[in-house]
Symmetry: C2
Subunit: 303 residues, 2 copies
């Protein structure tokens, strides 16, 4: 089966594409940036999803599309919601139209468990929790999910939206402010001081990238019309616990500075992942200790 | 207070603008079409909301914006979701950005009680009912509501989104397939045959335009940061009952043809309007009989 992966040059794509190849899929990649790696078995197309002229040929012959591309991150999406809507919502609709025209059967979408719900009203949110995003990134992700349900109804395009929690793993960038585990591990390995906003009790649902790759593979094989499912660890871990885990694994104390809390940080996030268990047969397999150990190993080797 | 009304040339605007003037507001109108009426007290700007070049001057000096404009209707929005998102979502974000830059204090949005919920799972839907639209029109309305909440949070722009049910009243067009009461009344007055899709038991929450105008006036005076409220009659009336009401008022039997039901018609819609009562002090005042009588009177006079 031919699969188009958009945004494949990023952190998640670097883990996902080799897995897809090992499962026997033929992979074509569409990304505005070149990947840091090359594989002769993968066809690379360097272009934006918002560029209509390339989309028809990009999806041609593909039975599935995995849509990871996004031109913004949650934190910066509120700087320019208009740009976010134009590139990511309108761009995705262009990709959907091209997919329908090309006869694509299934569309797997990287949605966002950290932003579509907004402020959680329960300890661990299920997919039917109210969706009141507090950033444009989450509003766009949610609108795309609803368009996917509509396109299934109108055109029979099957879809799976994975509401992924806080992703971490080897080769995640440590300099973008996106991956707190990558940032903390890098500071620990290089002996720098970790900056913590607030008292470190802020907690997140961290999910290892290999487990998320499992979820995309399960999404491709899913027998159903339209699914929206949380993909996370099902637990919430504080920043202080992350630091203690890193200290335990490295055997060294990490230098820390506590800074004033940021107004836009939700205190705790946690996803209930039982639906993904029922529908996709998926569950998180990698403990936080194992995952962080792998991150530290690769960092130590590469630094 | 200066108020900009977008889409003011349509049916709702024709009722709303005179009311705003009588309440002492100064009104500026922005519409892509000329209105069928003129009032020397109203400043008309003929332009699309999606035209960025005009927006800054259109909102300049306004303390409130009432956004009625939409380039699509529910039924046709699925023909081209990409166009809908481009003109109505992106266009509204442009209007929001211009409003924030001009120091607009309040934004009143004509949302859609008939499309944002999708298939209702209860007899009468409250605002916290799941929102799974089955047309692009509803997806865009919902996304705009969420952007309004975000803009309140980011920029202090206060907003009221009115999820209006099936609107009817004098001067509604009878030839667009939008207003079933206008269409039925026109057929009755002109002695033509009414076409009913299905057996006539399909029922809708019909709300008289004068009552909706009351809701917009209440929205302008609302003391609060962000509100999303249903505006409907709180009851559901079948097409057969509408026809019986028309027959009772005209004293003539209406000629009818029953056609096969349409797959996309939800069987019953009804909005719970208690939130609008609590927050806006609003309630529907006009009975269906009174409202239809006014429609028939104007039609008889003008035909």
């Amino acid at each position: 089966m031919n699969v188009l992966v958009t945004g494949g040059s990023g952190f998640l794509g670097r883990h996902l594409v080799p897995r897809l190849l090992s499962l026997g899929y033929s992979v074509r990649m569409l990304d505005v940036s070149d990947a840091s790696w090359r594989d002769p078995k993968v066809q690379f197309i360097t272009s934006s999803v918002a560029d209509e002229s390339i989309l028809n040929s990009a999806v041609s012959g593909c039975e599935a599309v995995i849509h990871l591309a996004s031109s913004v991150i949650p934190k910066t999406s509120n700087d320019n919601p208009l740009l976010d809507a134009r590139t990511n919502l309108v761009g995705t609709l262009k990709l959907l139209d091209a997919s329908v025209n090309a006869g694509v059967r299934r569309f797997i979408y990287a949605s966002s468990g950290g932003t579509v719900y907004g402020e959680p009203s329960v300890a661990c949110v299920r997919e039917d929790h109210p969706t009141d995003p507090i950033c444009s990134y989450g509003i766009v992700k949610l609108a795309v999910e609803k368009y996917l349900a509509l396109y299934q109804r109108l055109y029979g395009l099957e879809s799976v939206s994975l509401r992924i929690s806080n992703l971490y793993g080897e080769h995640q960038r440590h300099d973008t402010g996106l991956g707190v585990i990558a940032t903390f591990c890098h500071k620990a390995v290089t002996g720098k001081t970790v900056e913590i906003w607030g008292d470190g009790t802020v907690s997140r649902d961290f999910i290892y990238v290999g487990d998320v790759v499992d979820a995309f593979a399960a999404g491709l094989a899913f027998e159903g019309q339209n699914l929206v499912a949380n993909i996370g660890s099902g637990t919430s871990v504080s920043l202080n616990t992350i630091l203690e885990t890193i200290e335990g694994l490295t055997g060294n104390e990490v230098s820390k500075t506590y800074l004033p809390a940021r107004a836009f940080d939700v205190h705790r996030t946690c996803l209930d992942v039982s639906l993904a268990g029922q529908k996709l047969g998926w569950r998180p397999r990698t403990s936080l200790g194992e995952g962080i150990e792998r991150v530290l190993e690769v960092m130590a080797r590469e630094s």
